[in-house]
């Protein structure tokens, strides 16, 4: 019954919205936070974790201050995104799924981000970077502190 009430009301009780806001504030969704949120919304923790883990933009583990998402879907693959991925790996010394030790960058591969006309492309945080070349990468990374 309590679950029904929470889900039928719209924002701010909207679980996905609450999770996105929390992540914007804290960088990621900690286990403690998910439990607290479940309590306050009076829903089971697994409902909250279920939503948090469903969406690729939500993180349940700490991430770097800047999140790099390089597109690896077919249109970017055809424009040799592999060399962009390798350049970022070399520049940062980390593999996809990892975070630099100084916490400056996390690095992920992502599915199509809708910039196929300017491939290869990536997002850093919410910024789009297009027509990437290995030469451009260094410069772009420098602009994120």
């Amino acid at each position: 019954m309590s679950k029904k009430i929470a889900f039928q009301n719209k924002a701010p009780e909207n679980l996905l919205v609450a999770l996105k806001e929390a992540q914007a504030k804290h960088g990621y969704l900690s286990q403690e936070f998910l439990v607290e949120l479940a309590d306050s919304l009076k829903v089971p923790v697994n409902d909250v974790y279920g939503v948090a883990s469903f969406y690729s933009f939500l993180a349940t583990k700490p991430r770097g201050r800047n999140v790099i998402k390089i597109c690896r879907s077919l249109p970017c693959y055809l424009q040799n995104c592999q060399i962009i991925i390798e350049t970022v790996e070399k520049e940062l010394g980390i593999k996809p799924g990892e975070t630099t030790p100084d916490g400056r960058f996390s690095f992920e591969l992502t599915n199509c981000i809708g910039l196929c006309d300017r491939a290869p492309a990536m997002l850093i945080n919410d910024d789009a970077h297009v027509d990437l070349t290995p030469e451009k990468i260094k410069q772009i990374l420098q602009s994120y502190k």
Binding site: F7, L16, F54, L74, G114, C116
Partner: protein, 399 residues
């Protein structure tokens, strides 16, 4: 057949941050006309006459959808704009939003007027967060200019889940839940968002509405073929010299888009409609782009002679396995099994019986998946087994 500008007529013409530049191009005239001269039923009737079918891939007749929601009982109804294009190779809605968010707002307001909804939602994919301010600005300017008039639009962002472009998963997501597809019936027009009657339309579908209302359904229905009226916006990418967004009258041959407009050379195959789309070999490039032939949501990815068919199919299936919501077994397990078999072919370790297994599995998925994405997931395998079977046979162990 010619290029046309119905959906994209304001793109590059107006300033997307300034509503007055849109008003100079007849912006919001259709909405005013509808409210002044037409009953909601008359608006729906014009849309039915136009023959407009959904541009998100499924091609359901828009007017019939609206009529269903209009006739559903209840005074709380919703209209949703699906701006969650996540299909591989799709960026036409991004282009539309970047260039003409006002016409989308007008189209959604017209949908609200037609079905009797006071609340509209735009579900914008999270990857397009950089468009949020622009879109919000367009809604605010329309509101401040008194065009919304008792109708309100809320923008909600996705969070990086391809499956949320599927209409029932999208509604789950707006409600704050996991984006898992729903069982149907009931259909959204009866029980959609918050279990209320709802219509959900693609960005491009709604972009057509003001022109239909202004010029009449009869004007619109003259364009295109008998079963595919109007124009279609395509996003072309891959091995082409001029990737981009192009609008064509429906029924135009694929060749015009791929070779003439996007300047592709040495084409081997084309994937029409992204990861859940159909694959055509080059010798079928004269196929008309229409619902009765091949269309999808408008993504056209071109592959030249240097590309490996099995690699393309494998990457397509990997994408689908990762993005499947996991609710139904054919979608969840079927895509995983396909990936596993295709990996073997990539390594040159396929077995003859694998081909039969994939064919059987594809049929099961097409027949029994819960949503359109699962049903369409095996298309890349099915089509390449049909047109490029030799490529599979050469990868069978020992050959």
């Amino acid at each position: 057949m010619p290029q046309a500008r119905v959906v994209l007529k304001n793109c590059g013409v107006i300033d997307p941050t300034n509503i007055s530049t849109c008003l100079e191009q007849d912006g919001f005239k259709a909405l005013e006309k509808a409210r002044r001269e037409m009953s909601p039923e008359e608006v729906i009737s014009e849309v039915k006459v136009s023959g407009l079918r959904g541009r998100g891939g499924a091609g359901f007749p828009c007017g019939i959808k609206w009529e269903g929601a209009r006739n559903s009982a209840g005074d709380e109804k919703y209209v949703i704009c699906n701006a969650d294009e996540g299909e591989v190779g799709m960026f036409k809605d991004r282009y539309i939003l970047e260039n003409d968010p006002f016409t989308l707002v007008e189209g959604l307001a017209l949908a609200g007027y037609a079905i009797g909804a006071r609340q509209g939602h735009i579900y914008l994919r999270g990857e397009y967060h950089y468009l949020l301010d622009l879109l919000r600005g367009a809604v605010n300017q329309a509101r401040e200019s008194d065009f919304l008039n008792g109708f309100d639009i809320d923008i909600q962002e996705g969070a990086g889940a391809y499956v949320c472009g599927e209409e029932s998963a999208l509604m789950e997501s707006i409600e704050g839940k996991r984006g898992e597809s729903r069982y149907r019936p009931p259909f959204p027009t009866v029980a959609g968002l918050w279990q209320k009657p709802t219509t959900i339309n693609n960005v491009e579908t709604l972009m057509n509405i003001p022109q239909i209302v202004l010029n009449g359904g009869g004007w619109y229905s003259q364009m295109g073929t008998e079963r595919s009226q109007g124009t279609k916006v395509f996003s072309v990418s891959g091995d082409v010299a001029r990737p981009g967004v192009y609008e064509l009258v429906l029924g135009s041959p694929l060749r015009e888009l791929v070779e003439e407009l996007a300047s592709a050379r040495d084409v081997k195959l084309m994937q029409i409609g992204g990861a859940t789309g159909r694959i055509l070999p080059y010798d079928m490039i004269d196929t008309p782009l229409a619902f009765e032939h091949i269309l999808g949501a408008g993504a056209v990815t071109v592959f030249d002679e240097s590309r490996d068919v099995i690699d393309i199919v494998h990457r397509t299936m990997e994408f689908l396995a990762e993005e499947c919501c996991g609710k139904c077994t054919p979608g969840r397990q079927g895509t995983e099994a396909m990936v596993e078999i295709l990996e073997r072919f990539c390594r040159g370790e396929g077995a003859q019986r694998d081909i039969k297994v994939m064919e059987d599995l594809a049929e099961t998925m097409m027949l029994s998946s819960l949503c359109g994405l699962g049903q369409a997931a095996p298309f890349a395998v099915v089509d390449t087994l049909k047109y490029f079977r030799g490529d599979y046979e050469r990868r069978i162990r020992g050959k």
